[in-house]
């Protein structure tokens, strides 16, 4: 097998100022009380917020105008962001990536050189995020996590296998994040129209066990069971939606099956949160596991949530 020698694309950057200050006075954010079937809702604090986003982050220059871009970079045309959908040619595809990296280097890396140099020495993220591998739900995009903020695991259907299932990709990352990096928060984010959850819900009882997808999503079988038990009268799409949220809750429970996680949650140095991103309506729900009020020892486990929020 021949491996072609690497092409390095580090160039001397031109100093280029495009930081845009955004002063946006936001309308009141309306809240609809979220419903999460199967879990006891602890507190429904309705939050009315009037937020002011001022220079959100000078490195997040998302409103670049075409005239400010240096020549040679892909420009925002026809009201579409720089997506890869239009590049058919493979050669163009990688030229595009090169431009993107150079753009990142000029507008983010060099603009915040001190910060990046500090990060190069060590990372100290406060979050660990477990999200789906789906191309539409990158947590950096939808929640704006910047470099250094979130240690991220992405797998099919954002599942967390329990401690008893033995070593896997996800729990190796959990171990590192919790025991080495000592993150303070774990956030498991589910999303709408999840193919993995759909596969879980459509799974036959006796199915093709050679399929990796099947062997993986079966981690979420308890979520499927509880969905079927409460939502079997709903349409399949609605059941899938219910299961998407239910599987986040089951993942939170599975997190607590790890002794070093449970210990930290009990001591209050680690919080675990669930989230749900609906990309059809562009809404985000977030809730936190209320460890103290949860009853995790009994056979039928009940857990409580608190600090529920809904943003739309």
């Amino acid at each position: 097998m021949a491996i072609i020698s690497p092409v390095s694309v580090s160039l001397d950057p031109q100093h280029f100022r495009t930081s845009v200050t955004t002063n946006i006075d936001l309308r009141r954010i309306s809240l609809k009380p979220p419903t999460i079937f199967g879990s006891k809702l602890e507190s429904r604090e309705i939050e009315q917020t009037h937020s002011r986003l001022s220079s959100f982050n000078s490195s997040a220059c998302l409103t670049m105008k075409a005239s400010r871009e240096p020549p040679g970079l892909t420009q925002e045309l026809n009201n579409k962001p720089e997506g890869l959908a239009d590049t058919e040619n493979e050669c163009d595809l990688f030229k595009n990536l090169k431009h993107r990296f150079l753009s990142f280097k000029k507008h983010k890396y060099m603009e915040n050189l001190e910060q990046y140099q500090k990060l190069a020495k060590a990372q100290a993220p406060k979050f660990m995020v477990i999200a789906c591998a789906d191309s539409r739900v990158c947590p950096s995009a939808i929640l704006g996590f910047q470099p250094g903020e979130a240690f991220t695991v992405r797998n099919v259907a954002n599942l967390v296998p329990p401690f008893e299932s033995g070593p896997s990709e996800t729990n190796a990352a959990l171990e590192f994040a919790v025991n080495s990096l000592e993150v303070e928060n774990i956030l498991v984010i589910g999303h709408s129209c999840c193919g993995g959850i759909r596969a879980l819900m459509s799974m036959e009882e006796e199915g093709d066990s050679s399929s990796f997808i099947r062997n993986w999503v079966v981690v979420g079988k308890n979520a499927r069971l509880s969905t079927k038990s409460v939502a079997s009268n709903l349409s399949f799409d609605q059941q899938c939606r219910h299961c998407e949220k239910e599987s986040v809750n089951h993942s939170l429970l599975n997190l607590l099956s790890y002794p070093w996680i449970e210990e930290k949650v009990r001591k209050g140095v680690l919080c675990i949160h669930g989230g749900y991103y609906d990309f059809v309506d562009c809404t985000f729900e977030k809730w936190t596991l209320d460890y103290k009020e949860s009853n995790l020892k009994e056979e039928s486990v009940e857990f409580s949530v608190k600090d529920q929020l809904f943003w739309c």
Binding site: M1, I3, I4, P6, V9, S10, E45, I46, S51, K80, P81, G83, L84, A85, T87, E90, L93, F94, R100, F101, S103, K105, Y109, Y116, A120, Q123, P125, S135, C138, S140, A141, I142, L143, E149, A150, F151, R154, N155, P167, S168, E169, T170, N171, A172, A173, E175, F176, L187, G195, S210, F212, N215, W216, G275, F279, V280, C282, K286, D307, W311
Partner: protein, 256 residues
């Protein structure tokens, strides 16, 4: 005059109703004010910087991306057709959405410790297998890109353990065993590498590209010329990115 008489009666009636409506509106306005005050007085949650951080991030995304490109996001809500399957490290500093500016819809992305791809094994690593199966067989991605990076904690652990005699982790060391061939190769090459960890990080990318070809659907797609494999390396110390191809070539036979 009859008309005039009717007109003034109508006027009076209208005036009366108008007054009634205005009064009702005032009462409703008062009620709304009271409710608003009540809700504001309700104990609001304490300011939580964690929550504020996430909320501001989401709002920023919604205003600057989702609401700005409705056609794109409507289409994405229906289905995804990413061109890439990306394997990247979970390290908080190397998200490909930043480094390579991947937009929603561009890349089906797996992130794990040291961005590794285990070889095909139906008894374990179903998480990675599921992602490859889904991306290649269901979504039909055209490119697989494995991206390594500088100062990777996973690679460092791979290179130093168990020789450093530190106690083993429950799960991390088991996962990192996937990278053992890369470690062996770098150690066998002796002192030719100035920095063995960085060399191992690049070698581990190549190892992952080899491993990914052990999956039957990947082999099939490559044979049909529908899939390309590439390796990448993001060096955040020097601010550089390397990109390379992996191609199989069969040399002409020697006739014995």
């Amino acid at each position: 005059m009859a008309r005039h008489y009717n007109g003034s009666v109508t006027d009076v009636a209208v005036q009366g109703r108008l007054k009634k409506f205005l009064r009702e509106k005032e009462e409703l306005d008062d009620k709304i004010k009271k409710l608003t005050i009540e809700m504001e007085e309700q104990q609001s949650p304490e300011y939580d910087p964690v929550v504020e951080r996430i909320k501001n991030g989401f709002i920023h995304f919604k205003i600057n991306k989702f609401d700005k490109y409705p056609e794109l996001y409507e289409q994405l809500a229906q289905n995804q057709h990413p061109k890439f399957l990306v394997f990247a490290c979970s390290d908080s500093r190397v998200c490909p959405s930043h480094v390579l500016n991947f937009q929603p819809g561009d890349a089906f992305m797996v992130r794990n410790i040291a961005n590794m791809v285990p070889s095909f094994n139906q008894l374990k690593h179903s998480g990675s297998g599921a992602a490859i199966e889904y991306a290649v067989s269901v979504l039909g991605v055209k490119n697989i890109l494995v991206i390594g990076h500088s100062r990777c904690g996973g690679i460092e652990r791979l290179m130093t353990h168990p020789e450093d005699k530190t106690p083993p982790f429950d799960f991390i060391d088991e996962w990192l065993k996937i990278g053992l061939p890369a470690k062996a190769k770098i150690l066998a090459q002796g002192d030719v590498h100035e920095n063995k960890y960085e060399a191992c990080a690049r070698e581990a990318v190549n190892l992952s590209l080899v491993n990914v070809q052990t999956y039957p659907y990947v082999q099939k797609a490559i044979a049909e010329n529908k899939l390309a494999l590439r390796g990448g390396y993001y060096d955040f110390v020097n601010g550089s990115f390397e990109l390379w191809d992996l191609k199989t070539c069969i040399s002409p036979p020697i006739i014995i």
